[in-house]
Amino acid sequence: MFFLFLFIHVFLTDLYNLDPMKEKTKAAKKPSIFSLLKPYKKLISYLILFALLSNGINLILPKIISYGIDSYSMGDFRMERILLYFSIAIVLVFIFTYLQSIVQTYASERVARDLRSRLSDQISRQSHAFITEANPAKLLTNLTADVDSIKLFVSQAIVSIASSIFLIVGASILLLSINWKLALAIIAIIPIIGGTFYLVLRKVKVLFKESREVIDWLNKVINESIMGSAIIRVINSQQIEYDKFITANARARDLGLSILKLFAGLIPLIIFVSNMAGLTILLLGGHFVITGSMTLGQFAAFNSYLAILIFPILVIGFMSNVIAQASASYQRIENVLNSPKLNHPGTITEIMKGDVKLENVALNFGQKPALKGISFELKAGSKTAIIGPTAAGKSQLLYILSGLIPPSSGELFYNGHNINAYMPEAFHSQVGFVFQDSIIFNMSIRENIAFSDTVTDESLQKAIDTAELQDFVSLLPERLDTVVSERGSNLSGGQKQRIMLARALALNPKVLLLDDFTARVDSNTERRILENVQNNYPDLTLLSVTQKVASVTHYDKVILLMQGEIIAQGTHQELIKTSPEYVQIHTSQQSTSNYELQS
């Protein structure tokens, strides 16, 4: 059994992986799609076994018929016996094909499921940068369309190719045993067809890869038109989106047509070549019969075996299409699977007091520095604000502090230990981060807040109270178990923001990073929330990016960040005296502060 399997393997690996360009550039040969099947040896063996059994018996059926006819013409015809043989064969074929179809379903679905698990596992271990780089839309294609084409390969290509090769080999042997000269002439068509396939598939493979990229492109346009549906309707730019889509769609159609053209040429060509083989039998075989070196019966047999030979060649042709697509998909999946896993050397799990220190931290985007020479210290339990203009690098700084992105240079210390020395689990459970953009999951409010698995009911309730969500929650039909929709579209901006705060607080963090939290919450609620934080989490080290000077006047420290650099740091009083930039910001908010003081 495995000889055959091996044969297919070698045959097809040669066919599809002989890309001379790639061989040169990459010393290590990329794993072929067949290597994917190794863990499923048993299932695949059963699959091929059942397929060959049913095919084998199907080959016997004509024998029974010819036996029936022969015995009738010889006057030795027994109906019951023929009926019995035939019925047994039919039932066996039915059983084997049915078994094969079951195994085939399980095998292909299992391969698909496991591949998806492996992919998601790999993705789940990646860094923020990887996901952004790899692009979520592309990863979605990997997990859906790419896996599907591999599924098709397992469910259809393997069986068809195994049985086809079985039939080709069988028919060839039979032909050779009848008349080797004629047989060789006929078998010569196999390499011709194989060569044609090889040439065409090499072209098709490129097109397949391109058409997958076009699908990514289509996805992107659809994605943006769905995510940006509101602004599209506000601007009435549906036509623009439609035009974008048509461009991508037309490209997809044209690629499809190019692929089709190649196959449209290939298939008739193969039929033509095999018809030429038929013609050869007629001419050469006819000649042999006329000269007496072959009997008429043998001549007829040649014809019937040719029919058996051609059909599997055609099947391989169709399946090569499937394999080419699956190989392209597998390559894309392999790229994700082979990306290096994140390596966390950190082992520290100790509980932080909340001291944070940055030493000369810098961050570059390509050539351009986003942050440079950032150094500051936060004492445990202190309150610090970061103020600065739009695009000063405030959010980036928080991303570095939360360990989402590594700094390009410089070091970060929590509790005197380098951030990398912490076990990620221990680190993230002590540092809470409220993102600037609202990120709400399509789950219940309870799950949205108790997002981490270490959250107790008690800390959940404390977080809800602190974020002033209790009134809101108690008015919901199913309280905490109310499911909020994706992108939180049935919540107001302020409600989303407060849910996100509660999510961070529910961790009972030692350090809390707030990114412009107050922007969407009215000042009244904001004040109460900050008081609550003060009362309920007294030891918390707070670092808050904000625009409002008024709310940070009593903070232990204010850091003024401009164009990626710290311009000044100190208390509000100090900065008012020393920093003209700070004074400018302060003045810009003066009139408002008056109002807030009055009220």
Partner: protein, 586 residues
């Protein structure tokens, strides 16, 4: 209106295969000529290929047996000619049929996308993005697979089958009927089983949609998963969706695979019938052995394509299930239609709410009895606690939704009577969550702006200068050419808001709504924005929603929005008092 695709009632969903097919065929009415040509190519091709064995048989009988090699040569030449013709017809058969499939897919995708563009915002709020994307991509891909791979075989098989069937009946009607009788069982079996198969495929496609939605959500928000240490949670949620998909896929796969063994069994049965009944007929002198042999050939020619159809039929059922899900989208219509103006009375205000009520879902009214007027050149502020209805009010001004009761008047005419072009030109709305398209800053700020579409950078810079936007452009590293990736963090939220702001200002609307549009922009830059707004036309109406009070202190009038009611606040002080006392009972 209910736009939730997963909750739309299934009453009308019982469309028959034929009805679904008819709808599908409407999409390719333009392809008639191509289909006819393809049919001719298929007929010629199949006829020639079916004639081949007959000619070979004749050559054997007439020339090989009689040892006349010249005759063999002659007929070989004839065959060669025929085969050359099939080379051409075969090419056109595949190319024409496949071309129809590809173009049909193209039309179909366009139709769906067009429909997506036509539907209102509510549709997108009620459906998960991942599920929608899966429907548009995955489900059309299922149709694609059918059209690009199976359709040709489908048609080819049917033609060969029909031809062989005609031969079977023509040679001997009795034996022909007997040979074809298993096909009737197959037909009945297919008829009974198909709806069940389709249903299983539909539920599989649904779980695929669910899985896509899950992936979409998690991947787009991956930073939260990292920061909250929930990688394991992501895996668990995904594994669940994956396992669910596995189950439905197995169910669908087992259903799809039921056809092949059954078709195979019945076609073998047909051979058995031909054998036994044929021999019976021969024994009664009604048939000959020679005819019996060719009869088997034709029976094979009938049942082999049928067996292929079995595999294709499953593909067809999958495609039909996908088509059903797509039709669910295509059959939706927008509830924001343009209608005749029926107000009759004129209003002097630029915009007026007249006793407006609104609810997102029936029975849960968000806004009650809202009436107010916005006048030329004035600035209005909407303030109030979070969740009080400010954004909803603004959305009604921009007609993202229609009021459930009452009327919104734009320049004295019902807002519903304006064409979308006219309306969106008059009303600008900077949304709370800025959205950018992948491209450059330039492309984003003139997005959908027909006036500046073809401006060169130099010309556009003049426009920017005139609108006092130059300083804002300078905040981007590479100015107008700074690249933007949708949904990524490569530019900050504040910068995104600046782009959205510029986009709206450059459109120069009559009414400009700013919904927390500058919330994440620093106060100094914000002063700049205030100056820009002052330079807008004297007639522009500004509607500002903000928490930060400095952004609203210049308002001519302040509305306090709370618990679904809009109250004129009079002075700033009064507004502040209300805000402080206001209980968030929304």
């Amino acid at each position: 209106m209910n736009y939730n695709l997963n909750k739309i009632n299934n009453k009308e969903k019982k469309t028959s295969t034929i009805a679904a097919l008819k709808k599908l065929l409407e999409l390719i009415s333009a392809e008639k000529a191509n289909l006819w040509m393809a049919l001719i190519a298929i007929l010629v091709n199949s006829t020639l290929l079916l004639l081949g064995p007959l000619i070979i048989g004749h050559t054997i009988d007439a020339y090989v047996r009689t040892k006349q090699f010249n005759g063999v040569l002659l007929f070989s030449a004839l065959l060669f000619g025929m085969y050359l013709i099939t080379l051409v017809t075969g090419y056109f058969q595949t190319k024409l049929m496949g071309g129809v499939g590809q173009r049909m897919l193209y039309t179909l995708r366009n139709a769906i996308f067009n429909k997506l563009q036509e539907l209102p915002v509510s549709f997108f709020n009620q459906n998960k993005a991942g599920d929608l994307i899966s429907r548009v991509n995955n489900d059309t891909d299922k149709l694609n697979q059918f059209f690009s791979q199976s359709l040709m075989q489908f048609v080819g098989s049917i033609v060969t089958m029909t031809g062989a069937g005609v031969f079977l009946l023509a040679i001997n009607i009795k034996l022909g009927l007997a040979a074809l009788s298993p096909a009737i069982f197959i037909l009945v079996f297919t008829g009974i089983v198909s709806p069940w198969v389709k249903k299983r495929n539909a539920s599989n496609l649904k779980s695929v949609g669910g899985m896509s939605a899950e992936i979409q959500e998690s991947l787009n928000n991956f930073k939260v998963i990292i920061a909250f240490n929930r990688r394991d949670y992501f895996r668990k949620r995904f594994d669940q969706a994956n396992q669910e998909n596995y189950k439905t896929a197995i169910a669908a796969g087992l259903a799809n695979n039921v056809f092949v063994p059954v078709y195979g069994m019945f076609s073998s049965l047909a051979q058995l019938i031909v054998l036994s009944y044929g021999i019976y007929l021969i024994s009664r002198g009604e048939f000959t052995i020679g005819l019996l042999v060719s009869y088997f050939a034709y029976a094979t020619n009938f049942y082999n394509p049928l067996r292929q159809l079995a595999a294709l039929w499953a593909n067809f059922q999958v495609a039909m299930a996908g088509w059903d899900r797509i039709t669910e989208i295509l059959s939706l219509t927008t509830d924001l239609k343009q209608s005749e103006d029926i107000t009759g009375e004129k209003s002097n205000a630029v915009l007026e709410f007249r006793d407006v009520h609104f609810s997102y879902t029936e029975g849960e009214e968000i806004l009650h009895h809202i009436s107010f007027k916005l006048e030329k050149g004035k600035t209005y502020a909407l303030i109030g606690p979070t969740g009080g209805g400010k954004t909803t009010t603004a959305s009604l001004i921009a007609r993202l939704y229609d009021p459930t009761q009452g009327r919104v008047l734009l320049n004295g005419k019902d807002i519903r009577s304006y064409s979308p072009e006219e309306r969106t030109q008059k009303i600008g709305f900077i949304l709370q969550e800025p959205f950018l398209f992948t491209g450059t800053v330039r492309e984003n700020i003139i997005y959908g702006n027909l006036k500046y579409k073809d401006y060169t950078n130099a010309e556009l810079e003049k426009v920017i200068e005139k609108a006092h936007l130059r300083e804002l452009i300078l905040l981007f590293d590479e100015g107008l050419e700074t690249s933007v990736i949708s949904g990524s963090d490569n530019i900050s939220l504040g910068q995104k808001q600046l782009i959205a702001f510029m986009r709206a200002v450059l459109r120069n609307p009559d009414i400009l709504i700013l919904d927390e549009a500058t919330a994440n922009i620093d106060t100094i830059t914000e002063k700049l924005l205030a100056i820009i707004l002052e330079h807008l036309s004297k007639e522009t109406v500004l509607v500002v929603i903000a928490h930060r009070l400095n952004t609203i202190e210049n308002a001519d009038e302040i509305f306090f929005v709370n618990a679904g009611e809009v109250v004129r606040a009079g002075t700033m002080q009064h507004a502040m008092d209300m805000l402080l006392e206001g209980k968030r009972n929304s």
